[in-house]
């Protein structure tokens, strides 16, 4: 891999050159090596065969001389081997009683390397020599052996020459490969260089209109065509992209404009919502005022009746006095009437004053965001007192279970509005057919916090509506005068002003249970409205 990594950084011309030279060198070296090795073995085999044939002929020729023990004739025959200068030894062994002693040898061949004295000493193999031993047969009798040895020095010399020539051929082949590859690589290199130049021109100038000029119809030509086609595609896509960008910019501008419009609408919507919330609060106040008026009307009316009765009795008694017809019993009756009327007047006016005082407090609290310390039980009594006109018309019982000495430092107005809205929602939604039921408020003192439980036993709320009950403008009675803001206001007052949390539980047919967990002492800073 390292070699490949190193080679991969070479210019393509070098790679082509290297590929051709390496390939041709490997092929030539391989062929030459095989030839040389094969040549060597072939040469040795031929020499061996030649030696074997010579030995065979010589054994045949020498058979008579050996049979007749004619040493002279044997030596004459040995002389004939001069024709083979590569022969190193030529030995004739005759048959004797125990072994095959040397009978004759050709001394002129190699005086320093005499024949072994007996056949047993003749080696089977000798480095640098080819050996051949053959038996000599006369008639059907073995009469001796001939042994020839031949040096392979001449073969080695011949192989050296062949190897040198082969090496020369390798060098020449490499040279030819270099020359030819230098010539042919241009066919590949020049088009690629041209393509690279066009690529650079395109990448630096960004002009996709440039096209590469094709050289030939080979694979590189196809590459040119593909490259040009690619450039054309890029050009087309570039144009499309420019168009798309313009379109996008236009759409962004349009979207921004629409966004601005939407923001303005949203602002107006929030303003409207605030106004509506304010109006709802006012409506609640109005309802309170109406209730107050109705409640005060009774003691005042009783007072007026008592006053009229007193007035009538007074006028009647006064006239009788003037006419001197005032009797003792008549005066006693008037005094009784006056005393009773005054008593009725006083009782009812006190009652009216008491009512006004309570209502005034609740009304003031509802319209202001004042923080003060108040007794929760007394305050809730007053709130329910103000709601009495509404409750009177129903068959609902109210039960309050609040610890007596529980004082809060909080926003009583908010609490009043919350309870009022709970009661109003129960009246409007919980008891559709004026059925009887019970509303209850239970407060738990947890020390630092309280939990206010508000329950009714009306029809309850289904799951879908329960999830949306605190959403602004959610109402199931829009046509019947519901604004859909009541419970939203409750949620905002609990979470923002009272710094508490609210949870509403309900199932259809099982009434409603609202829980408000809030601190006894609210942090003014946190609850700033």
């Amino acid at each position: 891999m390292r070699v490949l990594d190193r080679l991969s950084v070479l210019p393509i011309s070098r790679k082509i050159l290297l590929a051709i030279i390496v390939t041709s060198m490997v092929v030539v070296v391989l062929i030459t090596s095989v030839n040389v090795v094969y040549g060597w073995f072939d040469l040795k085999a031929r020499a061996k065969n030649e030696l074997s044939a010579t030995a065979s002929i010589f054994a045949n020729n020498v058979s008579a001389a050996l049979t007749f023990r004619d040493e002279l004739a044997a030596e004459q025959l040995l002389e004939s081997l001069k024709a083979m200068p590569q022969l190193d030894q030529a030995c004739i062994y005759e048959r004797a009683e125990l072994n095959f002693p040397l009978f004759a040898q050709y001394r002129a061949l190699n005086p320093s390397n005499p024949c072994p004295p007996v056949l047993d000493k003749v080696p089977e193999q000798m480095p640098g020599y080819i050996l051949e031993t053959q038996e000599v047969v006369a008639g059907d009798e073995r009469v001796g052996y001939v042994f020839l040895s031949r040096s392979t020095a001449d073969l080695s010399a011949a192989m050296r020459t062949t190897s040198t020539i082969s090496l020369g051929m390798v060098v020449v082949s490499c040279f030819i490969a270099v020359v030819f590859s230098t010539f042919f690589r241009r066919l590949i290199e020049d088009p690629i260089h041209r393509l690279v130049a066009v690529t650079r021109e395109v990448s630096s100038g960004g002009d996709f209109g440039i096209r590469a000029e094709k050289f030939a119809g080979d694979e590189i030509g196809t590459l040119f065509d593909s490259f040009n086609a690619m450039l054309e595609q890029i050009q087309t896509r570039d144009d499309d992209l420019k168009k798309a960008r313009l379109e996008l910019e236009q759409r962004v501008a349009e979207t921004e404009q629409a966004n601005a419009t939407l923001n303005a609408t949203l602002t107006r919507l929030k303003e409207t919502q605030d106004q509506l919330v304010h109006q709802e609060k006012m409506a609640s106040l109005g309802s309170l005022v109406a209730g107050v008026a109705h409640e005060i009307n009774t003691p005042i009316g009783v007072g007026v009746t008592a006053a009229s009765t007193l007035q009538g009795a007074t006028e009647e008694t006064s006239a009788a006095y003037e006419n001197g017809k005032l009797t003792d019993s008549g005066l006693r009756k008037f005094m009784g009437t006056a005393t009773q009327s005054a008593s009725i007047l006083l009782t009812n006016l006190n009652r009216a004053a008491s009512l006004i005082q309570s209502f005034k407090q609740v009304a003031v609290d509802q319209t202001s965001s004042e923080v003060r310390t108040f007794n929760l039980r007394d305050y809730l009594d007053e709130v329910f007192l103000s709601l009495r006109p509404k409750l009177k018309k129903t068959h609902l019982e109210v039960s309050l279970n609040v610890p007596e000495e529980l004082n809060l430092y909080s926003y009583p107005g908010a609490l009043s509005q919350i309870v009022t809205n709970f009661v109003m929602n129960s009246l409007v939604h919980g008891y559709p057919d004026s059925t009887s039921g019970e509303l209850s408020v239970v407060v738990e003192d947890l020390g630092e916090e309280i939990i206010l439980h508000y329950r009714d036993d009306g029809v309850g709320i289904n799951t879908t509506d329960l999830q949306r009950v605190f959403d602004p403008f959610f109402t199931t009675r829009r046509g019947a005068g519901g604004s859909g803001l009541g419970m939203h206001i409750v949620y905002n007052l609990v979470t923002q002003q009272l710094n508490g949390i609210i949870k509403l539980e309900s199932e259809p047919g099982k009434g409603v249970h609202a829980m408000i967990r809030m601190p006894k002492t609210v942090s003014v800073k946190e609850a700033a409205v």
């Binding site: 045949n60 008579a64 095959f100 056949l119 059907d140 009798e141």
Partner: protein
């Protein structure tokens, strides 16, 4: 590596053949070995044998003592895949069965007419002396420098359809072609 068979007879012959012929016994022994060795390098015509299994008949006309030496030398021998049978010939008509006939110098002088008989057959006639091949024979044995040598009349052999190996001819002192 090499098989060695004890063929005492042959070895004796070869040992004798390697020695210069000093005594008369020794000379006839060597000559007997030569006669045996000649059979290895001579091809007789096909008519000479009736069958492949026929033996080669070596005939001798000489002193009985010499003949016995020859008989001893070739006893149990074979050549060219044929056994060698020894015949002591005293009657010229017996030559008809011979393939090689050795005639001593004395016997040749005593029976010159036997050679006419011999010419009728493909018979290798071996005699004594260099001049023997010029007169009647095909191979003449002689002593040169203390060693037994021979001369060959190849022409006469060819006339009798007998082929003498060139290897044998190359050892001859003289060859008549």
């Amino acid at each position: 590596m090499f098989k060695r068979r004890r063929m005492l007879g042959v070895l004796v012959v070869l040992l004798l053949a390697g020695q210069p012929a000093h005594s008369e016994d020794m000379v006839i022994g060597v000559k007997a070995a030569f006669l045996y060795n000649f059979t290895k390098f001579i091809q007789w015509p096909a008519v000479s044998f009736d069958a492949d299994s026929d033996s080669l008949n070596l005939c001798v006309t000489a002193d009985l003592q010499d003949a016995n030496v020859v008989r001893q030398v070739v006893r149990g021998k074979s050549t060219q895949n044929r056994a060698i049978d020894f015949y002591y010939v005293t009657d010229r008509r017996a030559l008809a069965q011979c393939h090689l006939w050795y005639v001593s110098k004395e016997a040749a002088q005593r029976n010159p007419d036997w050679f006419d008989e011999a010419r009728q057959y493909p018979l290798v006639v071996v005699g004594e002396g260099d001049r023997f091949i010029d007169e009647n024979g095909m191979i003449g044995l002689m002593i040169v420098d203390g060693r037994i040598r021979f001369a060959v009349n190849e022409r006469r052999a060819s006339t009798s359809s007998i082929h003498i190996s060139s290897k044998l001819l190359s050892l001859a002192q003289r060859v008549v072609r």
